[in-house]
């Protein structure tokens, strides 16, 4: 976030923070509500839960952590992190196919 703020700018930001706060509470309610809706597919259940969590995390990172208006140096750092994180998850999904099936 730009380091120079006028009071008027900050008041506008505060309104945004409040809206994000409400959106996060609504997102939590949706996540819990979906738990009681039984979807046939496990993959669909996981996808919806992760989708809602991703939107919530975008709101926290974007607005509370000011990532939507940060300096390039931070984006560069996070891009590196994202590459390693995605690689780690890719390896995890790859390894899932090698997992032995445990029979009860």
């Amino acid at each position: 976030m730009s380091d120079n703020h006028s009071t008027a700018d900050l008041k506008k930001h505060i309104r945004t923070y409040m809206l994000v706060f409400l959106a996060l509470l609504v997102g939590t309610a949706i996540t819990v509500g979906l738990y009681y809706v039984h979807f046939e597919s496990v993959a669909l259940t996981v996808s919806i839960a992760m989708f809602v969590a991703s939107i919530k995390s975008f709101l926290v990172a974007g607005f509370f952590m000011h990532l939507i208006s940060e300096k390039k140096a931070i984006y560069a750092m996070l891009l590196t992190t994202a590459v390693f994180f995605v690689s780690l998850m890719f390896l995890t999904i790859w390894a899932m196919h090698d997992y032995p099936v445990i029979k009860p």
């Binding site: 923070y17 969590a53 919530k56 509370f64 952590m65 140096a73 994180f85 390894a95 899932m96």
Partner: protein
């Protein structure tokens, strides 16, 4: 010697140094929690199909208290808004409001840790019992002791275990006949019949191992963040009088860490409690 770039931005990064530092730290934290999430996924997909506890290697469902978890999520989200408001108050030169919002953040942190402690206690007093006839039950021991196992029973020379199976609660919820409820409410078990006894501790099942690892690491982050903010709220706040911009930057970096802790919980909650 004066520490450079505590307030003014470096020309190459466009940022004051603490901000670069906290983001580098958070990047490493992403990988730490990422590795544990990866472990969770592999343990989860590697679990046997079927219903736990009848199938001991199956993945347990519904063991965590969803209303409490939801409330704790709301507490942590609330602390995120209060910490960003504390920073905004300083930017608007309103030190009084900063004190108020930071105090509220600390209250939320205390609330979160207290609720988590209660949830842990619930798990440490919840047991699985396996009997010689192959019957498996989950429930509570009379008096709600923690961490009992067969050795504890032998050490305490207990001959009959006063056990309250979860089936009693389930029968009550299902609205079964009072006689059935009464029958299920209390089950004295001769210790000689028990082949296995364990509370819901990490060694009991891979679910509890990963649950306690993830949530305890997260709780340590909450406690660490709360300690830093308590410092900024009380003794560290003196800096506001001598170097207000540097103090505001300190609050911002502490806030960034706090938001990250919230962000991790946003994923932990559905993964552990709901899926």
């Amino acid at each position: 010697m004066e520490i450079p770039y505590t307030v003014e931005a470096r020309k190459d990064t466009g940022l004051y140094n603490a901000k670069v530092g906290i983001w580098l730290f958070l990047a490493s934290e992403v990988m730490l929690f990422g590795a544990l999430f990866s472990s969770y996924i592999l343990l989860r997909v590697g679990a046997a199909s079927g219903d736990w506890p009848a199938i001991s290697l199956a993945w347990p469902h519904g063991l965590l208290n969803i209303p409490i978890g939801t409330f704790n999520t709301a507490v942590l989200i609330s602390s995120s808004i209060t910490v960003v408001m504390a920073w905004a108050s300083l930017k608007m030169h309103d030190f009084g409001k900063f004190k108020l919002y930071m105090g509220l953040t600390l209250l939320c942190a205390l609330g979160f840790v207290s609720i988590k402690t209660y949830e842990y206690h619930e798990k440490f007093t919840h047991y699985e019992v396996r009997l010689k006839d192959g019957k498996i039950m989950t429930g509570h021991i009379q008096g709600s002791p923690m961490f009992w196992d067969l050795k504890t029973l032998a050490d305490k020379k207990i001959t009959t275990l006063d056990f309250h199976p979860d089936a009693a609660k389930q029968a009550a919820k299902a609205g079964e006949a009072p006689a059935a409820k009464e029958h299920a409410k209390h089950a004295p078990i001769p210790v000689g019949e028990i082949t296995y006894l364990s509370s819901f501790v990490p060694k009991h099942h891979t679910f509890f191992a990963i649950y306690f690892t993830l949530t305890a690491l997260h709780a340590l982050h909450v406690i660490g963040g709360a300690l830093v903010m308590a410092f900024l709220w009380l003794p560290g706040a003196k800096m506001w009088k001598t170097d207000p911009e540097r103090f505001t930057n300190r609050v911002e970096t502490a806030g960034l860490f706090w938001h990250f802790v919230d962000l991790v919980w946003i994923f932990l909650f559905p993964v552990l409690y709901l899926l």
